[in-house]
């Protein structure tokens, strides 16, 4: 796998390979790049931010309260597209728990009048 390290502005080009169960990271300039490369290969994760629609119009911005596996982002976005917020919410409020079975809760990042 090839990727770019995002730990600092150097942006080292990383190559990560697995041979007989052993991971090697090539191209990193420092130990942080090694750690990042291994994580990106074996369990890449992202905090997801998106919008939810209100049942009577409007949108509220939200985020997952923790990073979720990268391959579950599609599930989460599909869940978000179908979900409707039917009441007023304040920044920081939990709108849904364990959304789309990602293990993450959905938090409002802005106030919504409902």
């Amino acid at each position: 796998m090839n990727t770019t390290c995002i730990m600092c502005p150097m942006g080292c080009a990383l190559t990560i390979e697995e041979k007989e169960g052993v991971l090697t990271v090539v191209g990193n300039g420092c130990p942080r790049g090694d750690k990042y490369g291994r994580a990106e290969y074996s369990h890449p994760e992202r905090v997801v931010t998106t919008l939810l629609k209100g049942s009577r119009g409007g949108v509220v911005s939200v985020k997952t309260d923790r990073p979720i596996p990268k391959d579950k982002i599609g599930d989460l976005l599909a869940w978000a597209a179908a979900y409707r917020v039917d009441h007023a919410v304040e920044t920081g409020e939990v709108i849904a728990e364990n959304a789309a079975d990602t293990g993450a809760n959905i938090l409002a990042t802005s106030d919504f009048k409902g």
Binding site: T3, T4, C5, I6, C8, P9, M10, G11, G29, R46, V47, T49, T50, L51, K53, G57, G58, V59, S61, K63, K70, I73, L77, A81, T91, T109, S110
Partner: protein, 411 residues
């Protein structure tokens, strides 16, 4: 007529931090904001990554704005005018604004902080060739329509420019079900953060082509497609290799310009490089009592730096209004050898420390930054990598300043 010690024009991150800075010194403060809420462009930046330096945690734009807005709105010493458009300001610090609720607002200011932010370069600014159909937006306009108003501006998208807003919008529109067919960047590198290239484009398999530009657009009522072509080192497109891409939307992420129209005809000295005012370390312009901070002074890449800079401007503006801001001799800060600009452009001799912010003119690896005064080295700093898109800073001791300051990079 009302009177305030400090009048702040703009209620985005710079305006709010300037207000809090001025309040720290006990000044009475007014903020004039043209939108219907405080927070500025942060309100539409729903992605995360804000506040790592300032708050030590990763926040979304609206969350970062709220931290400041909550402090501003609970402070009785700050009067906030919303939907208030400033029409003029004078050198004796009379500010005129209009609002639908308050009508004509006239304020006598002890000092003024300019915090109007910046605006995007548009299709007209880059002389985009072709027809003029619907479907061509600046990236920030599309971001506002999406994230504040809830409208998806198109389904098949090409993005010109790989600045951070363009990258963020590529991911946002993909998340909402649109297809982003290409991000075209005229330069051989991106001015956007590496993190955004990886997490906004690569994560979603969105192609990015360097040294490529949009040569013309097509469509009568609505955009139907764009032509792209590679460019040579002198930015001339090779039209023999032009390629047609059908799409209904073109987003432009082609640069930001400080919004200083209010200063047209004023005596405030401007920098041709930053398109903002020339300031000293207090962020005071060449007109006494008029200060400037945030993206209206120079375009920042991190809001954390905007907040820090505006705090300085707010505190200093309060000091000026109370006659406590020290003056004295200044020296010039002169960038060269790889440094495109440095700010502040003037520094007072005296005691204490001062941080000089600067940008380099291209990507440099393993260079040393050197600050000299009267040919004596004042500060030396080794760097791993510096890129034009990432603002740098270096702190110096004012007591070492003897004459004009040079800031350079060397091998």
């Amino acid at each position: 007529m009302e009177r305030f010690d400090v009048v702040i024009i703009g209620g985005g991150p710079a305006g709010m931090a300037a207000a809090l800075g001025a309040r720290e010194k006990g000044a009475s403060v007014a903020i004039l904001e043209r939108d219907d809420r405080l927070g500025g462009i942060l309100n539409q930046c729903i992605h995360n990554g804000f506040g790592l330096h300032y708050f030590g945690e990763e926040l979304t734009g609206p969350e970062y704005a709220k931290r400041f807005r909550d402090q501003v709105t609970k402070d009785d010493g700050i009067k906030v005018y919303l939907e208030a458009m400033v029409l003029s300001l004078t050198e004796d610090r009379l500010v005129r604004a209009i609002s639908p609720t308050a009508g004509l607002i006239e304020i006598e200011a002890g000092s003024i902080v300019l915090a109007m932010g910046c605006r995007e370069r548009s299709a007209g600014a880059i002389a985009l060739a072709g027809t003029r159909p619907a479907g061509i937006y600046t990236a920030g306009m599309a971001q506002r329509l999406s994230n504040i108003d809830g409208y998806l501006v198109g389904k098949e998208v090409v993005i010109l420019g790989s600045g951070d807003i363009g990258l963020i919008m590529a991911r946002r529109m993909t998340s909402e079900g649109a297809k982003v067919k290409l991000v075209a960047e005229i330069m051989p590198f991106s001015s956007g953060l590496k993190r955004n290239i990886v997490q906004c484009l690569n994560d979603y398999d969105i192609p990015l082509r360097y040294s490529t530009t949009v040569t013309r657009v097509e469509g009568e009522n609505r955009l139907t497609g764009v032509y792209v072509a590679p460019v040579d080192e002198r930015m001339n497109p090779d039209l023999s290799r032009e390629e047609y891409i059908p799409c209904d939307t073109l987003l432009l992420s082609v640069g930001l310009i400080p919004e200083n129209d209010l200063l047209n005809g004023s005596k405030v000295e401007m920098s041709r490089i930053t398109n903002g005012a020339v300031v000293d370390e207090y962020r005071q312009t060449s007109v006494p009592g008029i200060f400037s901070a945030g993206n209206v002074l120079h375009v920042h890449d991190l809001v954390d730096n905007v907040s820090e800079e505006a705090f300085v401007a707010g505190r200093s503006a309060a000091g000026f209004a109370r006659g406590e801001l020290s003056g004295g001799d200044t020296v010039n800060v002169l960038p060269s050898q790889g440094v495109r600009y440095a700010l502040p452009q003037r520094i007072h001799k005296g005691e204490g420390k001062v941080k000089i912010y600067f940008r380099v003119d291209r990507v440099y690896k393993g260079r040393t930054v050197l600050v000299t005064s009267n040919d004596e080295v004042v500060k030396r700093k080794k760097t791993l990598v510096m890129a034009p898109g990432e603002m740098q800073n270096i702190e110096i001791d004012k007591s070492l300043i003897k004459g004009d300051i040079s800031i350079i990079t060397e091998e």
